[in-house]
């Protein structure tokens, strides 16, 4: 009788129970799915700002061009790098961490829902803080790596570097808070039966990414604090005139910076490892090897930082060590690539849009990986360092790698997130434009780089043989820009269509496909029990066919965390402190105190508020 009462409740609620809507519900949300959507939409907007790189390409389209002034060029390439890394790729990964990790492990939310909201608001305010520099005509102009002593007061007297170092500090707070949250979520919130070695590969790679975040971000935090002391309080940590050491900055930056590379690419590995098996109709080949190679890449990632510094003259022993560890990373990466190929090989391949992007990822990432092995050799790197060859390399791994995989994930999980299928035909147009545009833009950079064209310089003289290839690169960049226009058209077009995506449009293997699209607020009406690595495929196999569409049910009796605005208040406090640090000495301390007070009030009320 209890079941029939429950059914009645469900029917009743399915008719009347609605999720809260309106601006306030978004400002106070602690739902990981909404926070994921906030991360994704914010990151996509920042990504569109990051396409400022098209201006750089116009400038470089012809020799001795005067389209951009050198100062503007410096600001744009700095902000392009900073934006794409911290405000686009990382938060786009965070979108999938937020939305997908709890669904993949069978949880109703993350371990700390309010901390999750705090992370998002701090990230948003940090991004706005960084970009507000444009309004002051003082965007950061020292490069995303902020090398000393370009950043010293003497050489950068303006606010440009201040915006950069404080903006990154804010973003670091967001990343660390989120990393603690997801680390605990993945360890502690798994559904019964979901042992570590049964977790979906995206969750695994995300888990390793959180470890990297936890261990790499404190280092940049300290480096930025020391830089702040140098600029504001007259210390000389990185200033040679006072006995300081500019190379110390490079060491600290790259001890963070190289793990950061894997923070950007490991989630991409995870996404591709989800997409390839589903569209090959085969389980992931070499699951355990995939897990351990991911962990090994992360471990080695902390021992290779000085390969960014071969030209600083560290001596043969350091050069040899860092060269060898760098080459060693190719081994676990190669293991992954062969396992992806092994997954596809002999599979019943479904040529759908996510699969296109995932296969494109493999091809492009191999090119980027191979050029990486090339400059792991110090003598070769001496030739390639600071040329467009390096620009080509890291765009093949970050665009050809991360962005291709994130786009694959976007098409793959779009129906789950929004309940609508994206258009297949437009998706394929998007793919081909992106693949062609990407290669036309970045492949010639290998050649002009090896021919000696330096990076970070606003123009080049005629007659060095750079003209044709640079013009070609500019054309490619606009094809690439066009591909994202097609993506936008696809989103707008399908948004107008019906919200009728099935729960399991791709014949998925993981738990997120067992619940309605989009999921209800509580994700799982009943906590699932897991018996293997591809839980949904196992259920379907036992049933001998596809599952019926899961009904939308009532959430009565399901415990959900209360909405809260204190995370937003605390985040405003953090931003307030940083604005105070930036402000004139007369008002600055008051700003810092006001921000600190708001932060204090936010944290205290948060701590004593009933969590629900």
């Amino acid at each position: 009788m209890a079941t029939s009462a429950l059914d009645q409740q469900r029917a009743h609620a399915a008719a009347g129970h609605a999720e809260p809507t309106g601006l306030w519900s978004w400002l106070t949300t602690v739902d990981h799915k909404r926070i994921g959507i906030l991360y994704g939409s914010t990151a996509f907007l920042f990504f569109l700002i990051g396409i400022e790189a098209l201006l750089l390409r116009i400038q470089l389209g012809s020799p001795n061009n005067t389209f951009l002034a050198p100062e503007t060029y410096n600001q744009l390439f700095t902000m392009h790098g900073t934006t794409m890394i911290f405000l686009a790729i990382m938060p786009l990964s965070a979108m999938f961490f937020n939305f997908m990790i709890p669904l993949q492990i069978g949880a109703r939310d993350v371990a700390f829902p309010r901390l999750n909201a705090f992370s998002y608001w701090v990230f948003l305010l940090g991004g706005l803080f960084l970009n507000s520099s444009f309004l002051f005509g003082a965007a950061p102009d020292q490069g995303w790596y902020g090398y000393a002593n370009l950043t010293s007061r003497q050489y950068s007297p303006g606010m440009n570097v201040d915006f950069w170092m404080l903006g990154l500090q804010i973003l670091g707070i967001a990343s660390l808070a989120a990393a603690v949250n997801f680390f605990v979520t993945i360890l502690n919130m798994r559904a019964p039966g979901m042992s570590l070695m049964r977790m979906p590969m995206f969750t695994w790679m995300s888990f390793i990414t959180q470890v990297l975040l936890l261990l790499a971000f404190p280092v940049i935090t300290v480096a930025l604090i020391l830089l702040m002391f140098d600029r504001f309080f007259g210390t000389h940590f990185f200033v040679p005139a006072g006995g300081g050491d500019p190379l110390l900055w490079q060491h600290m930056f790259w001890i963070f910076g190289h793990p950061e590379v894997y923070i950007l690419v490991l989630p991409a590995f995870g996404i591709v490892s989800e997409v390839l098996p589903v569209f090959s109709r085969k389980p992931l080949f070499g699951y355990a090897a995939m897990v351990f190679s991911g962990a090994f890449i992360a471990f080695l990632g902390f021992g290779v930082w000085s390969h960014h510094m071969f030209t600083t003259g560290m001596g043969p022993i350091a050069d040899t060590f860092f060269s060898l560890t760098t080459m060693l990373i190719a081994v676990p990466t190669g293991v992954k690539i062969f396992n992806w190929l092994g997954t596809v090989w002999g599979g019943s391949i479904q040529y759908r849009v996510p699969m296109y992007f995932a296969l494109g990822f493999i091809a492009m990432f191999i090119i980027g990986g191979l050029s990486g092995v090339m400059h792991s050799s110090p003598p070769a790197d001496l030739q390639q360092n600071d040329t467009y060859f390096i620009v080509a390399h890291f765009h093949y791994v970050l665009f050809g790698g991360s962005i291709f995989a994130l786009t694959a994930g976007g098409y793959y999980w779009w129906p789950k997130m929004f309940g609508r299928m994206l258009d297949e035909r437009l998706g394929k147009v998007h793919f081909w434009l992106m693949l062609i545009g990407f290669n036309v833009t970045f492949f010639p950079m290998h050649i002009v780089g090896l021919n000696g064209m330096p990076r970070r310089v606003y123009t080049y003289p005629e007659g060095l043989g750079f003209e044709t290839l640079n013009r070609l690169e500019t054309v490619g960049a606009f094809i690439l820009g066009l591909s994202f226009l097609v993506f936008l058209i696809n989103i707008v077009k399908t948004w107008r269509g019906p919200r009728n995506a099935p729960a399991d449009p791709w014949n998925g293997a993981t738990l997120e496909w067992s619940i309605p699209s989009p999921p209800q607020e509580w994700n799982f009406a009943e906590v699932p029990v897991v018996h293997g690595r591809d839980p949904l495929w196992e259920v379907k196999r036992q049933r001998g066919g596809p599952l019926p569409e899961p009904p939308r049910v009532s959430g009565q009796g399901i415990h959900l965390p209360n909405p809260s605005y204190w995370p937003l208040v605390a985040a405003l406090g953090v931003a307030g402190v940083m604005v105070g640090v930036m402000a004139e000495p007369k008002v600055g301390p008051w700003g810092i105190m006001a921000g600190g007070l708001i932060l204090f009030i936010g944290v205290f009320n948060w701590a004593f508020e009933p969590a629900g």
Binding site: M189, R190, T235, D245, H559
Partner: protein, 211 residues
């Protein structure tokens, strides 16, 4: 969240560890790298600051103008602060044991002792900093001043935040809001407090003892 619901949640996690406890351990792991970087920064500059102007921690210095500077650090006072900080780790364990047994008086006593030790340590540091400034050592003076104030200052900030946290818990305990079922609230703060102590065990010899 009611105590009952909380107790259930405790058993529901995949690892069996309470999520908040796991979170503070995770945070502490991350903080290790924070202090490791600050300590490395101190050690890196240790070689070079002797070329610059003084005062220095363990060496005398005569300025070009002929002014004489004694070695600046004063070990006895800091040793006392160190000892009290280490004892406070014991006190917070006793406070936790009393909280778990539901002995409110004992909890208030030992938690109060912990807070007093923390306050003394912070006071000691404030005195030491002012003293150094009077003796002519500021952030700007030399790399020693810069590295010393940054490293010990950030540790002191951690102690201060810990003291605020513990005072909040003391007030809660005074109002009878930390029954045995909620002793985890104190345990988490205690883990943080131990960490701050352990970091000082590394900083103390590096900054004060090793010449």
């Amino acid at each position: 969240m009611s105590d009952h619901a909380h107790a259930i949640e405790h058993h529901e996690t995949s690892t069996g560890l309470d999520s908040r406890k796991l979170a503070i351990w995770t945070f502490i792991g991350s903080e290790c790298l924070f202090f490791a970087t600050l300590i490395s920064n101190y050690l890196v500059h240790k070689e070079t600051w002797l070329t610059g102007p003084g005062p220095f921690p363990h060496q005398e210095w005569v300025s070009p103008a002929g002014q004489h500077f004694e070695p600046i650090i004063e070990i006895p006072l800091v040793t006392l602060g160190t000892a009290l900080l280490l004892f406070s780790s014991l006190f917070v364990v006793l406070a936790l044991a009393n909280a778990q047994r539901g002995n409110r008086k004992g909890l208030l006593l030992w938690l109060g002792m912990t807070i007093m030790c923390g306050l003394f340590f912070v006071g000691m540091q404030v005195y030491e900093f002012t003293h150094f400034v009077h003796k002519g050592l500021t952030l700007k003076t030399n790399l020693y001043g810069a590295s010393f104030f940054t490293l010990t200052g950030f540790h002191g900030t951690h102690v201060t935040l810990g003291v605020i946290w513990l005072i909040t818990l003391w007030i809660e305990a005074f109002r009878g809001k930390i029954p045995p079922a909620k002793s985890l609230n104190l345990e988490i703060a205690a883990l943080y407090w131990h960490f701050v102590d352990v970091v000082w065990i590394v900083i103390f010899p590096v900054v004060y003892l090793i010449t």
